[in-house]
């Protein structure tokens, strides 16, 4: 007889939940306010028209995926082996906001890694081809925990075309390069927040540049479901179509 003590089963839960997900797409940026969550939401909706897609909102302090999808009245359903994510159109959504319901999230660093693992551990995503992960700005706990637990994700690094944003996003790219992660830079809000040549900056830093999205005020505060004819939707659709094999 032998006995094993103090086994860490939350990591087993995370592994079990992620093992059947075919591809993981992470939306990150060192900088806030560059449109990560909007691109993540639109991207997941575009993908969901052909594939089984889930969205995991890991922006603990500012979860906005439920707001972008205009989720208002909902009830969480629990089965024996996990919580069923909310289904919007063909997308399965899990966000801390489904628990917070507008409450501010005061949480210090030491609990964030566990909370992220718990969120993944309780969520019963089924048969996903793509899991879209929306991260908060920065390279703190949520970012580092994601790099640790998601194996071989493709990371979209979002910037707007000005030096203040690029100056921060470049550092995130440097971290991803250092860790050998697969990533590509998306330039968002072109023509509105500056005219930095992001493609050139990417070349100078040997960062893969995967495309740009023009500023489109028709999508502000709207769900992607109601914006299928927008310029933003079509431009992002083209970027995804062109790059899908890289993901």
């Amino acid at each position: 007889m032998i006995s094993q003590k103090n086994l860490d089963f939350i990591n087993s839960m995370v592994k079990m939940r992620l093992k059947d997900i075919k591809k993981i797409l992470i939306f990150a940026s060192g900088k806030g306010g560059v449109g990560k969550s909007t691109i993540a939401a639109f991207g997941s909706y575009i993908l969901s028209r052909k594939y089984r897609v889930g969205v995991l909102d890991l922006d603990i302090h500012g979860p906005s995926i439920p707001r972008i999808f205009d989720i208002k009245n909902f009830k969480l359903t629990e089965k024996k082996d996990g919580i069923i994510p909310l289904r919007v159109e063909n997308i399965d959504i899990m966000s801390l906001e489904l628990f917070l319901r507008g409450k501010p999230a005061q949480l210090s660093g030491k609990h964030k890694e566990n909370l992220i693992k718990e969120m993944i551990g309780i969520t019963k995503f089924v048969d996903l081809e793509y899991l879209v992960v929306d991260l908060p700005p920065g390279t703190g706990d949520e970012f580092l925990t994601s790099l640790q637990i998601f194996s071989d994700p493709f990371i979209f690094l979002v910037t707007i075309p000005n030096d203040i944003s690029w100056n921060v996003v470049k550092r995130t790219g440097d971290i991803l390069k250092k860790y050998g992660k697969r990533f590509g830079v998306i330039e968002n809000m072109r023509g509105y927040f500056g005219n930095l040549n992001v493609e050139l900056k990417c070349k100078e830093n040997t960062f893969p540049y995967i495309g740009y999205l023009n500023f489109d005020n028709s999508i502000i505060d709207k769900s992607p479901i109601n914006c299928k004819n927008s310029t933003f939707y079509h431009e992002l659709n083209n970027i995804i179509d062109k790059n899908l094999t890289k993901f």
Partner: protein, 133 residues
């Protein structure tokens, strides 16, 4: 279920023929019913590897000390203040024990900065295996 998977994993790692016993500690604030948890493990267990498995689960009380005002309290004193999120009356802490700092505040000064004592979720304390000689 992660607990059953962990037992299977440990049995494989140690080339064990049976998992004989598992000892679990459950944090009070997770509001997990130990009998329901034991029943779930019984339902999901591997029938060959765990045919005579014994599951032992104990509840550990949670206590808090405020970093702002220094006062202390038990979970049972503030449990009623935590908003329920579903028809079964579970709080967010049932699913996400590490969100305690968000949903609990000091009953004396309202601060969310406190130290927690006792396990928050479910912890496997010990697994007893029968190995091939």
């Amino acid at each position: 279920m992660g607990i059953v998977d962990t037992m299977i994993h440990e049995a494989k790692v140690h080339n064990a023929k049976k998992v004989k016993e598992i000892y679990l500690k459950i944090g009070e604030m997770s509001n997990i019913d130990s009998q329901i948890l034991v029943g779930a493990i019984e339902d999901l267990k591997d029938p060959n590897l765990m045919d005579d498995l014994k599951v032992y689960a104990t509840i550990e009380k949670n206590r808090f000390k405020c970093r702002n005002c220094g006062r202390e309290w038990n979970f049972s004193e503030i449990e009623k203040n935590i908003e329920k999120i579903n028809v079964d009356g579970d709080t967010p802490l049932h699913y996400l024990p590490d969100s305690a700092q968000i949903f609990i505040e000091c009953p004396y000064c309202g601060s969310h900065e406190f130290d927690m004592y006792g396990e928050t979720g479910v912890v496997i304390e010990k697994i007893v295996l029968e190995v091939n000689e």
